[in-house]
């Protein structure tokens, strides 16, 4: 619990400091103070996550400290650190300390989600994270879009939480336990009942929401578009990573006996079949809808939906290949997404950045941002030697190893490979604006042609994120070896 404690104490400390000393200072210095304190808390949490080691089940089985927990916690903390730093140098907030504190609360929720191995703890952790994220989505009170994003996110999220809780209560009723391994043992010993199917479907609805998988994706484009950039970045990256870890732990160690089989065409029914359907729907809908977008953030949202399809494929394969491919994929995806949002945030300091065409001429305005953006986007597109490529490669390899092309898992992998050629189109549309098209200014004072100054701390984290993508792409064993 050290990381969670560090984060919560850090959050409270941020608030206290701001109350005590922030009164008479400028917004900017209050933000810096909050971000520095928050970063210290995140670093302390990283140390805590690292030093708590691989102790196995702790707190009477409520939490588990295994490789997946450690990797997810560190991954989430890195993503939160990047988000915080970007917020510090780019956000114009009226309540900086509250923003940082809520980011820290959300992060505490994420690290708890990474370790939860009991239905109740899982639910509480998820809610801690979700409630914080709802607030973050609506943090920009000056923009109606932000309020819309928060409301949509909250309504969908609340509904999916209700489904999840209902599903959990049914599972508790069926198995008499909230411990994952006892649930698993019970399910293995008893034939599946229709009620179990209902319960699993309800859990998967909440999973679909968290992963932004079609058809539970409707919140994603609006939230990505309307929420403040740093909040959107956190929702798109760290929240995804924690959510995938939570659900892959629920599904495989918990409900594994009800998985069924999708490696052959005539496999046994189970929740895998539903996940496979969600995956196919996300791949198709995300990639095809992204083709039609003209708003950069909505494009990123649809690309996130498409990526969710691959992540679900990773969940399917995780039963056989372990969590390594899935974690690698989600983590590197998170880094690339946080980076892309970071670039948007830095641009927005100078000129608006909503439409894809707002990127026009970026290569003249800031070569650094252009280079970083190219790395993030090409990683999302899955171009080697960047990490996004190997992520796809290892997930597809794991899915095909389930049964070759004899079953839905293999077909999904083939579908995803072909759709990656479709995806390259819309990623290149982004890069075309940034790297090829010259800026078009209506007047000479138009900010769209001004050079962009990148704050030093933002530059450092953006380059750091780009480096992670290159290094992990070249040496994926660094991550895979953990599992």
């Amino acid at each position: 619990m050290v990381p969670e404690a560090a984060l919560v104490i850090g959050a409270l400390f941020v608030l206290t400091l701001d109350l005590a000393f922030g009164r008479r200072r400028s917004l900017e210095s209050r933000l810096y103070l909050a971000v520095i304190t928050g970063t210290a808390a995140v670093v302390a949490a990283m140390y805590g996550a690292f030093s708590s080691g691989l102790a196995g089940s702790v707190f009477g089985g409520a939490l588990i400290l295994d490789e997946l927990t450690m990797a997810t916690r560190l991954g989430v903390l890195v993503l939160a650190w990047i988000t915080l730093t970007l917020a510090g140098s780019t956000a114009r907030l009226r309540h900086p300390a509250e923003f940082v504190a809520i980011v820290l609360f959300a992060t505490a929720g994420f690290t708890l989600m990474a370790a939860a191995q009991q239905l109740l703890v899982a639910f509480v952790a998820l809610e801690l994270a979700s409630l914080s994220l709802y607030i973050l989505a609506g943090f920009d009170k000056s923009k109606p879009e932000s309020a819309e994003a928060a409301l949509k996110y909250f309504l969908f999220g609340g509904m999916s939480a209700a489904f999840l809780l209902f599903g959990f209560s049914l599972i508790y009723g069926l198995t008499g336990s909230i411990e994952l391994h006892e649930i698993s043992a019970h399910l293995a010993g008893h034939p599946p009942t229709p009620l179990l199917s209902v319960a699993l479907v309800m859990v998967l609805v909440a999973f679909g929401f968290k992963a932004a998988a079609a058809p539970f994706h409707l919140w994603a484009p609006d939230v990505y578009e309307g929420a403040p950039v740093s909040s959107a970045a956190l929702i798109a990256s760290a929240s995804k990573l924690a959510g995938l870890t939570l659900f892959v732990r629920l599904l495989w160690p918990g409900f594994g006996p009800g998985a069924g089989n999708v490696s052959t065409a005539a496999g046994a029914p189970g929740w895998l079949a539903i996940v496979a359907c969600l995956s196919a729907a996300s791949l198709l809908l995300g990639n095809l809808a992204a083709l039609a977008q003209s708003n950069l953030r909505r494009l990123l949202a649809y690309s996130a939906i498409a990526h969710a399809g691959v992540m679900l494929l990773g969940v399917i394969a995780a039963g056989d290949a372990g969590n390594g491919p899935l974690f690698y994929y989600v983590f590197t995806y998170g880094i690339a997404t946080v980076g892309a949002f970071g670039v948007i945030a830095v641009i927005e300091r100078t000129s608006p950045c909503q439409r894809i065409t707002d990127l026009a001429g970026l290569y003249r305005r800031s070569p650094l941002l252009t280079g970083c953006l190219a790395i993030y986007i090409l990683s999302l597109a899955g171009i080697p030697p960047l990490a996004g490529f190997f992520g796809k490669f290892t997930v597809f390899a794991a899915a095909l190893n389930l049964g070759g092309v004899a079953g839905p898992a293999g077909w999904l992998a083939i579908l995803a490979i072909f759709l990656s050629a479709v995806a390259l189109y819309y990623y290149l549309v982004i890069l075309k604006q940034a790297l090829v098209v010259a800026p078009t200014a209506v007047t000479s004072s138009d900010p769209v042609t001004n050079p962009i100054t990148v704050p030093a701390d933002a530059a450092i984290v953006l380059v750091f994120a780009a480096l992670i993508l290159v290094v992990l792409g070249l040496f994926p064993s660094f991550v895979l070896r953990i599992f």
Partner: protein
């Protein structure tokens, strides 16, 4: 031999340096690019001079890379790869010379250019399918930016996107095939590995259906890049829209990546599939030779003539591969080299020497100009390159196409007869292009007098003279095509032993199943 991997690293390092230097000095970026390309070229020649032909790939580096999936960083070379490495070094050097006059975003241009070159070197050196695929994709993306940024204004964005999506769709097919092959190998009890040798060994246990499906995926994926009919349409539009150096590289080297992938991966790994698909590939190759040739015959745009001629000539390469006997495949590799050089020459004349001076590529406009008087060097070069392209003895096209035809005859005389007809079509469209573009029937005096928009009297005599860089580049390419035309044995002595290795023999056996 052991220095060959340096070609990859030198190219990538050159790319970074050119990018860094380009912000300050255009000249520095150019010289960095030239030094980098020349170093690679010298390294390939050095390796060639001490090369002892032997069957099988000679391993240069073999390191574990991603142990979890059995992926190794395995670089190796044999006579086939060496032939193509020399070609790449030559084309890279000449390409830099022909882009010496680029003034817009010079550092970025050469950075992308050298990245592409590094990827190409990597593909030709890889003996592990994963390593090869990584380099293959590295070679794809720069093409988009090269064409979209520096291509001809109207069509460049469309053409760049089309070209890259075709290439990427092809590589998606390859990726699907490789992953499926790996999964099937694991299912048949092998350890997960992407080494070409291991995959080939495992593939002998695959069912006939698996072999046929896998061959179709991998071969089609690579053949897209080789310009196989009906997946060739990216090639003419892409070549035409690209800046000269990129056209030279695309037609000269990148299309060879596709053919090399077919030869190195698809054929040896899945010989049963090859046997099944052999007639189809041959038919598509012959259709490609004629179809592209006939289209080239009626083009109005000079560069489109060359673009389609590339597709037509690559048809010979694919036909040689489809025949799958030692002679035909050796001829195909020779044709890869030969076409790489000749296509480079043709694009250099059309894109750099003619277009950048006359600012038109329309044959109807060029006909109005007595170009043989105005640009005699370009005219001479184009005539020589055209002769080489038609397969005139004394140039490299002749031994290459002849070897292919002899080999194809062994497999099927009917195919050889058809393909022989294709040479006539090539002669027809090349002669037409020479005649119309350079030897327009209107005499100089009348042109000056008519004072049309294109030829207003002042500009006629003010065509910038052919620069030294262009002359050196032309001389290098001409020397290569004449040298190989007179002494094809130099390359065949490398290629034929390479085909004797058990690995490549599997491919050739597939052809006679």
């Amino acid at each position: 031999m052991n220095a060959l991997p340096l070609t990859i690293y030198v190219s990538f390092a050159g790319a970074l340096l050119a990018l860094a230097a380009g912000t300050r000095s255009h000249a520095a970026a150019r010289w960095i690019a030239l030094v980098s390309a020349l170093t690679s070229f010298a390294l390939t020649l050095l390796a060639a001079s001490s090369f002892a032909p032997s069957p099988g790939l000679q391993t240069i580096i073999d390191l574990p890379w991603i142990a979890e999936l059995g992926i190794r960083y395995h670089l190796a070379a044999d006579g086939i790869s060496l032939t193509l490495l020399v070609l790449t070094g030559l084309a890279a050097t000449v390409g830099v010379l022909f882009s010496w006059n680029i003034e817009h975003r010079v550092g970025e241009f050469f950075a992308l250019y050298l990245t592409l070159i590094g990827g190409v070197f990597g593909v030709f050196l890889s003996a592990d399918a994963f390593t090869m695929f990584v380099f293959y994709e590295i070679a794809i993306v720069p093409k988009y930016f090269l064409i979209a940024n520096w291509g001809s204004p109207v069509t460049r964005e469309h053409a760049a996107m089309k070209l890259v999506l075709y290439s990427f769709a092809g590589s998606a097919l390859v990726l699907a095939g490789l992953l499926w092959a790996n999964a099937a190998a694991v299912a048949h009890g092998s350890v997960s590995s992407f080494s070409l040798n291991d995959l080939a060994a495992a593939a002998t246990h695959f069912s006939r259906g698996e072999q046929i499906g896998l061959f179709a995926l991998v071969f089609t994926g690579f053949a897209v890049l080789a310009g196989m009919f009906p997946f060739h349409t990216w090639a003419p539009t892409g070549h035409v829209a690209a800046p000269t150096a990129a056209s030279m590289l695309l037609a000269g080297v990148v299309m060879k990546l596709g053919a090399y992938g077919c030869l190195r991966v698809a054929m040896p790994l899945f010989p049963v599939g090859l046997a099944f698909w052999q007639p189809t590939i041959a038919a598509l190759a012959i259709i490609g030779i004629f179809y592209a040739g006939f289209i080239a015959l009626v083009q109005d745009d000079f560069k489109f003539v060359i673009g389609y001629s590339s597709v037509s000539h690559m048809g010979f390469v694919l036909l040689g591969l489809a025949a799958a006997n030692a002679t035909a495949v050796a001829g195909a590799v020779l044709q890869m080299f030969s076409h790489g050089v000749i296509a480079g020459l043709l694009f250099a004349v059309v894109g750099r020497m003619v277009y950048e001076r006359t600012h038109t590529r329309q044959l109807a406009d060029l006909r109005q100009l007595p170009l043989h008087r105005l640009l005699p060097f370009a005219a001479l070069t184009f005539v020589l390159a055209g002769l080489a392209s038609m397969g005139m003895p004394g140039f490299s096209g002749f031994p290459a196409e002849l070897t292919i035809l002899i080999g194809v005859w062994k497999t099927s005389p009917v195919w050889a007869l058809f393909a022989g007809g294709g040479i006539l079509v090539a002669a027809a469209f090349t002669l037409r292009a020479i005649q119309v573009s350079f030897f327009g029937s209107i005499p100089l005096s009348r042109v000056v007098a008519s004072g049309s928009e294109l030829t207003h009297a002042g500009s006629l005599h003010h065509y910038e003279s052919i620069t030294l860089a262009e002359k050196v580049g032309t001389a290098l390419l001409l020397a290569a095509t004449v040298y190989i035309g007179l002494k094809p044995d130099v390359l065949l002595d490398w290629i034929i032993p390479a085909l004797q290795s058990p690995f490549m023999q599997a491919a050739l056996k597939g052809g006679s199943l």
